[in-house]
């Protein structure tokens, strides 16, 4: 039984089990952020260490299952799915149009067309599809870091030596969107005062106030962080994320899968696929397939639950 801070009581089914003031409902205990980080690193390594579409497809399916099993109810997969599908389709299309190698010609575009002119082949379409599948696998592998974890969880998952750098990079990235918002506000304000976009010189009236506001925001942020003792020592947390047996199993399976892939490649096993000049089935190693199955392990973990202690009754 643990008390602690966390999301509001209306968020009882979210990934965080620690809710002050919430009714004593059983809540699913999340995996430790470091376990997610190790899992993501292993999955991305596998997706990038081979260009075999079978392995990439299996990694993507394993990551999709893990995401569906651990996605908090308030998070949505649709934006990610759209981005992933668009990236994969674009990769396949570009390779189909730009690579004119291969034996099986689908259609032939006029040679006079720059870049895309010539035969469009089944082999180049298949290789583009394999490239797209690699993108899908890589994006789904890192998706839990943004969809399952909170930003502060990711920062906590970093090694102690990288913690301050991580916080600085995260806050800097937040300033990028802030800069965009400021630019829009200043531009709208100047328009209301009769400003119209003209040559380069006219943009001074928007860019200079935007830059000054961004600098002011940065100074304010730095002072706020210093007031919260940034850099004074290691970040503390009211609730320590435990690294238990479930985390150990997940990390061990993910690392074993990554080691199996790298080991097979180093040992000289055929891990890649080359469809030119004629399409052929990719070579498949049963050990590598078993490794991909190990990546899906978090999707099959039996859920662990905890009960929330009533408020005002510390343990």
């Amino acid at each position: 039984m643990t008390t602690g801070r966390g999301p509001s009581s209306g968020d009882a089914a979210s990934h965080s089990p620690y809710v002050v003031g919430a009714p004593a409902l059983p809540l699913r205990v999340p995996l430790a952020p470091r376990a997610w980080l190790a899992w993501s690193l292993a999955a991305v390594t596998i997706a990038l260490v081979t260009d075999n579409p079978v392995y990439r497809g299996l990694v993507a399916l394993a990551a999709l299952n893990v995401l569906l099993a651990w996605l908090p109810p308030r998070r949505r997969l649709r934006p990610l799915a759209v981005a992933v599908a668009f990236s994969a389709a674009l990769a396949a299309l570009i390779n189909l149009l730009a690579s004119h190698t291969g034996a099986d010609v689908l259609i032939r575009l006029p040679d006079g067309l720059p870049l895309v002119g010539g035969p469009l082949t089944l082999e180049s379409l298949a290789f583009g599809g394999a490239l797209g599948l690699g993108l899908v696998a890589a994006l789904l592998s890192v998706a839990p870091l943004s969809l399952v974890l909170e930003p502060h969880d990711v920062v906590d998952a970093m090694p102690a030596s990288l913690e301050r750098t991580g916080i600085a990079v995260a806050t800097s990235l937040n300033l990028v969107s802030g800069f965009g918002r400021t630019f829009t506000e200043v531009r709208d304000a100047q328009r209301m005062r009769g400003w119209k976009a003209g040559g380069l010189r006219s943009w001074n009236e928007v860019l200079v106030p935007t830059l000054l506001t961004a600098i002011e925001d940065s100074v304010l942020l730095a002072e706020a962080m210093e007031a919260r003792a940034f850099g004074a020592g290691r970040r503390t947390s009211y609730v320590a994320s435990g690294f238990g047996r479930r985390e150990t199993i997940v990390v061990a399976a993910a690392l074993a899968a990554a080691v199996a892939f790298v080991g097979l490649r180093v040992a000289g096993a055929p891990m890649d696929w080359y469809p030119y000049p004629t399409l052929s089935l990719p070579p498949i190693q049963p050990l590598a397939v078993a490794g991909c199955l190990g990546l899906a392990l978090p999707a099959f973990l039996p859920p662990a639950f905890t009960r929330i202690a009533p408020p005002g009754r510390p343990e």
Binding site: L58, P270, Y274, P277
Partner: protein, 266 residues
């Protein structure tokens, strides 16, 4: 000043000395070893050149095997796609496009004495272990390429290298219909000439054969291999079956989870 230059040269030589064994092997001079890999090159006119290359390492790449075999070849690199074999053993004699628009060199690999499989990777990535074979066939650019003749018999079944014999070269020519099998030549250079492949009969290759090679050069007038042996294996790959099973299971589970997530709650 001069003394310092001499000292510097000595240091550089001492630093580079351990790297000497890593220098590239001159094509045609096969290294001694206990493992063997076969090379089969089938030309467009049906003539066949085979080589057996011995090596000591656990595996050898397809590119190294070609270099060690002494068969002349050239390639062109396509960036991240790796290299393509443009000309092999003098065919085509001249080329503009690589791979050629009408014909090209199809690459095959046979594992452990098994049937030919179309290579799924380029020769620089392909790895060959003891008993494997690398095959090339000059085929027209249409449809699935036919496999070259089987590599059986190119390399000794038992490793029997002598202190100097490091590679056994067998040159065979495509049989003449109805001819009686006859041993015509035991000289590697003569056999190489008989294949009609100029690159294989270069002075370098002949000298190498005379010095280091146990030659079993024959013109094999045996019947051509039967058609089923020339096609890639159609046997079910256990890895593929496992991958299809795992993939189907994961895909089905993902669909089930999505369907359950969309179902409105009670």
């Amino acid at each position: 000043m001069r003394r310092r230059a001499v000292l510097l040269s000595a240091v550089i030589l001492a630093t580079l000395a351990p790297l000497a064994p890593l220098a590239p092997v001159v094509p045609g001079c096969a290294a001694a070893g206990s493992a063997h890999a076969a090379l089969v090159v089938e030309h467009g006119d049906g003539s066949v050149v085979t080589r057996c290359v011995a090596f000591n390492a656990g595996a050898i790449s397809g590119e190294e095997l070609l270099n060690e075999s002494g068969v002349a070849w050239s390639s062109q690199t396509f960036g991240g796609f790796g290299g393509a074999v443009c000309a092999l053993d003098g065919e085509p004699a001249h080329y503009v496009d690589c791979p050629g628009k009408d014909s090209y060199w199809a690459v095959f690999v046979a594992r452990g004495g098994g049937p030919w499989q179309l290579a799924s990777v380029g020769i620089s990535t392909m790895t060959l272990n003891d008993g494997d074979a690398e095959g090339f066939r000059y085929v027209p650019d249409a449809g699935t390429p036919a496999a070259p003749v089987l590599p059986s018999g190119v390399c000794p079944t038992e490793a029997t290298p002598t202190s100097r014999s490091v590679a056994a070269k067998t040159a065979t020519a495509r049989p003449i219909a109805g001819a009686t099998p006859t041993l015509l030549a035991t000289n590697p250079s003569a056999a190489a000439t008989a294949t009609g492949s100029p690159a294989a009969s270069t002075p370098t290759a002949t000298a190498s054969a005379a010095a280091d090679v146990v030659a079993t050069a024959t013109i094999a007038l045996s019947p051509p291999p039967s058609a089923p042996n020339r096609t890639p294996s159609g046997g079910a790959d256990p890895g593929l079956i496992l991958a299809v099973g795992v993939g189907s299971g994961l895909a089905g589970l993902a669909i089930l989870r999505l369907a359950l997530a969309r179902r409105p709650g009670p």
